[in-house]
Amino acid sequence: MMLFWYTIAVLLSLAIFSFLWKDNPLYKFAEHLFVGTMVGYQVVMVFSQIIMRKIVDPITVAFDNSQILTLISLVFATLIGLLFLARFSRKAEWVSRYPISITVGFWSGYAIVASFKTSVLTQIRGTVVDDLGQPLLNGHLIGDFFKNPSLKTLDLATAGPLLVFGVIVVLVYFFFSVKHDHPIIKFANKPALFYLMIGFGASFGYTFMGRISLFIGRMNFIFNEWWPLFKQTIGG
């Protein structure tokens, strides 16, 4: 039985790969099968893991344990959630704005300070000091390099200043309130592009690695999992 399903998986993988040649009915069939299966699987999982686990089970447990306050809040929240379905009616569409505003309002408020701290303040801190609290523009490290010149001391001495300079010029590059012939913008333009391109180059290389890994994963499945099983089953 395992061989049967593995073989189906191999055939579907090859059908998708046939797109490399050109778009064809086999590829279209495999893609539609994938989309359809995914939707069906998700419907079942959403019912069992969300409707049952997050609505029915907590209400049942609260009822069994006589947790009245929990029960009331769960039922009330479920009713508010059901108001989302009003979107399907032109007349009653306005009702769905209540749960949307509650959801968006709560999550925006909860996320704003946390996101600001995570993505902005901590990152600015990380541009001033390292995780040990030492400043990134560190004269001692530069002095160490001149005392004991080596690749390691050069790396330690230059990493911090390069990072600080890069952050500042790239921030200036994306500053749109000043004319592009402003001296600071003009000065920052080329170095910022340099930093951006190095960053995108690294991302490009990493992305290529990611795509090849997926291909290797499929080939590994076909040649090192399906093929030995096929040989074993057919060979007896």
Partner: protein, 331 residues
């Protein structure tokens, strides 16, 4: 006039390049070459952190720390990320660290469940005591916040329908105080979400495993210590796999096959819930368990040769470009 070699290269059909790429990837796979990666500090940090949890648990057996492993990826990226989750689970189960796992997407529920039970079986881990699988904690943000106080109020039942309050593991580990490390393995930007909520608001340590596509995005968080470590792409998986295999050799021995064959011999009845997994390995299963221990390193051999091929193509194409431009300027 004869077409110069560099113009022939520039006009090479893409299909030829695809065929050569196929050959370059297949040879190491079929020859089962492996790759011995040097372990990067960001991967070693995750390993050291989990070892730190093991050391802590040895001296605090009544108040152990656990690991929360979040399967934040769907099957489309399993080639890169499955080796990571398997290695982390092997490490945790080998060190008897309690593990809570869950899946971030509906289509990753089965994947998460299968991998968790697949690895748990290798170490005789008991469901409910050594590990639990919480299914699909929707919405994820609410689950992350719930862990700040008591996750059992939000995740009332586990994936199998057991009450959370009836699981011994969750009676000891139900909030962030008892979580030593959160490991998020993701193919999207989910690790950023974990850093924003679990790390910024609750001060929890986050380790991440990501696909290579997203890895570059998370280096700023590594630099500021918002993440304690990162396994980036298949290479990160190969490095962690290597560390865990060395530990396994130290703790269990060289012959993992014999260890697995004999693991459930003379085992007492009723310890393991057969709904979760059946104790004992068939030969087929044994081969599968042994081959997954090398999957990332086998893949990296093909990865390395693909990279060399692409570097060669880039050099060739650039050479062709500059030579044709020079020839055009001469004309």
């Amino acid at each position: 006039m004869k077409t110069p070699w560099y113009e022939k290269i520039m006009s090479l059909d893409k299909k030829v390049l695809y065929v050569i790429m196929f050959v370059v990837v297949m040879i190491p796979l079929l020859a089962r070459w492996t790759y011995n990666p040097a372990v990067m500090p960001e991967v070693k940090d995750i390993y050291d952190e989990i070892e730190g949890i093991y050391t802590y648990n040895q001296s605090h057996p009544d108040t152990p720390q656990g690991i929360l492993l979040s399967f934040d990826y769907s099957p489309s990226t399993n080639a890169e990320l499955d080796p990571m989750t398997m290695s982390v689970l092997r490490h945790a189960f080998m060190r008897r660290i309690p593990v809570i796992t869950w899946a971030a997407f509906p289509d990753s529920i089965d994947l998460a469940k299968n991998i968790t039970t697949f690895i748990a079986k290798e170490y005789g881990a008991v469901y409910g005591k050594d590990f639990v699988f919480m299914g699909y904690p929707y919405p994820m943000t609410a689950a992350v916040i719930a862990f700040g106080s008591d996750v059992r109020n939000f995740l009332v039942k586990d994936f199998y329908g057991n009450l959370s309050t009836a699981l011994p593991l969750l009676n000891k580990i139900y909030n962030y105080k008892s979580i030593g490390l959160i490991v998020t393995v993701s193919g999207t930007s989910y690790p950023r979400f974990w850093v924003t909520y679990a790390n910024t608001l609750y001060g929890k340590k986050i380790a991440t495993g990501t696909t290579a596509v997203s890895a570059a995005e998370f280096y700023p968080f590594l630099q500021t210590d918002q993440m304690i470590g990162m396994m980036g792409g298949l290479r990160g998986a190969a490095e962690y796999e290597k560390l865990v295999q060395a530990l396994e050799t130290q703790v269990i021995g060289e012959d993992i096959g014999s260890y697995l064959r004999n693991l459930y011999n003379d085992a007492p009845e009723g310890v393991w819930d057969t709904k979760i997994y059946t104790p004992g390995f068939s030969e087929e299963e044994l081969q599968s368990h042994l081959s997954t221990r090398m999957s990332a390193r086998t893949g990296m051999a093909s990865q390395a040769s693909a990279h060399f091929y692409v570097i060669f193509l880039i050099i060739l194409a650039n050479l062709g470009f500059f030579l044709s431009r020079r020839a055009e300027n001469k004309r």
